[in-house]
């Protein structure tokens, strides 16, 4: 069995690498996501002016910006395949779970880049750094895994639809609602500077959500992909 699982990981990595290469050629998803984040952050910062929002408000603003920026780019992984007409070849080349995890990892990378861009900007614009960094990062990482895990299958679903962009957000929001509530809670605690025991309950929820959503997506992915 070890050879097959190694083989599986190599195939997943091949999908990620292929997506990275196509992404570097156009940088479409990257540009969309980063520019969206910069534009919304600037707008919030400008309109707030000299008003100083409280830290829980900042935490929810952070996730509003993050959610919508992510929504502008995450669907690209499958939309691109449909538009270029490469989806059938991808179907021939590997099994459903390989494609799913490859696309999910690519989205996770995209989200990580987005986080790397947003966090410094956020600190500069609002002059608030998380008081408890480890807590902030733990919450962020598990939220990113959940975001990538549950939106990948939605991206595959909407790639077949006639209107893509708006529908992706509409479908993702109800599915991601528990994740967003828990993520805002954790970020808010980390901004205020609370201890680990304060985020234990939302973190459990978040990890459970990640595991359940990824399992469910893998189970359902073949129905969507092999249509």
């Amino acid at each position: 069995m070890p050879t097959t699982s190694v083989n599986w990981a190599v195939r997943v990595w091949a999908v990620v690498r292929k997506d990275l290469t196509t992404e570097f050629r156009t940088r479409y998803a990257f540009n969309a996501v980063v520019m969206f984040a910069v534009v919304t952050l600037t707008m919030i910062s400008l309109s707030l002016g000299l008003n100083e929002p409280s830290k829980p408000v900042l935490a929810s603003l952070f996730w509003v910006v993050f959610f919508f920026a992510a929504m502008s780019g995450l669907a690209q992984v499958f939309v691109r395949e449909e538009e270029a007409g490469t989806a059938p070849i991808l179907k021939l080349s590997s099994s459903g779970s390989v494609i799913f995890f490859g696309k999910m990892l690519f989205n996770l990378l995209l989200l990580t880049i987005l986080a790397v861009v947003i966090i410094p900007l956020f600190i500069v614009f609002f002059e608030t750094a998380p008081a408890n960094w480890p807590l902030f990062l733990v919450g962020l990482l598990s939220a990113l895994i959940g975001l990538a895990g549950s939106t990948t299958i939605i991206a595959a679903i909407i790639s077949k639809a006639t209107v893509k962009g708006a529908l992706f957000t509409v479908l993702s929001f109800p599915a991601l609602m528990p994740l967003l509530v828990a993520a805002v809670e954790i970020t808010s605690v980390s901004f205020v500077g609370g201890g680990f025991e304060e985020i234990l309950a939302p973190l459990q929820l978040l990890v459970a959500f990640d595991v359940v959503m990824i399992t469910l997506s893998v189970m359902l992915f073949d129905f969507v992909w092999r249509l």
């Binding site: 639809a161 509409v170 528990p178």
Partner: protein, 214 residues
């Protein structure tokens, strides 16, 4: 159904005046609001079961059934939101409050139904539409489970629904016999109403498809 309506307005209010937060008569809406909300959730469960059956068999009839259940679910959740916010205005003083988990849940249910029909309208091919909406129904159901059953346990101060109206903190029934009779009658009546409307909608959908395919 008629008996329920008559009894709901003629019998004494389900809430005794010393515990009541607003006008006592406002609590009569309990006989309609709770069954309507229950049917909204029931419709979603039916839709989810039919969606799973569709994915297993790929028989288009299960897709028709799932759409019909979702149509009714949209209607009933809208009614639950409206009746609920009238009650909320009279007793808690505002139409809407985001810190109340059951209001959030019913709202999410409404958003889910909206998203479901938005997705369907964007997929032209019949088989693709049926499969995609079935998959999405299952994903939404799991996500809603997290929201409805797990969030209130994490944030215990989240609910301000009258807990003492159906069950108390220990989970015992606290309704007086009369209230219990009307309430159960109403639950049965609304469930039967749903079953009847559901079979009508399924037949209507089937005729509609036949006409289109001709």
């Amino acid at each position: 159904m008629t008996a329920v309506i008559i009894m709901a307005f003629t019998m004494p209010s389900p809430m005794s005046s010393e515990f009541s937060l607003g006008p006592v008569d406002a609590y009569r809406i309990f006989y309609f609001h709770v069954p309507v909300a229950w049917v909204a959730v029931l419709a979603y469960m039916v839709a989810m079961i039919q969606s799973i059956r569709y994915l297993r068999t790929k028989d288009i009839i299960f897709d028709i059934k799932a759409v019909s259940a979702n149509r009714l679910g949209l209607l009933f959740s809208l009614m639950a939101v409206i009746t609920g916010s009238i009650f909320a205005k009279l007793t808690w003083g505002e139409f809407w409050n985001w810190s109340e988990i059951r209001e959030v849940s019913i709202f999410i249910l409404l958003v889910i139904y909206g998203a479901y029909f938005a997705l369907r309208s964007a997929l032209p091919d019949r088989e693709v539409r049926a499969t995609m909406s079935a998959v999405m129904t299952i994903i939404f159901a799991v996500s809603a489970l997290f929201l409805i059953f797990i969030l209130p346990r994490i944030y215990p101060a989240f609910s301000q629904h009258p807990t003492d109206s159906i069950v108390d903190e220990q989970g015992r029934l606290t309704m007086s016999p009369m209230v219990l009779v009307i309430f159960s009658l109403s639950m049965i009546a609304f469930t039967a109403l749903f079953a009847w409307m559901y079979s009508l909608t399924v037949r209507l959908e089937r005729f509609g498809r036949k006409v289109i395919s001709r």
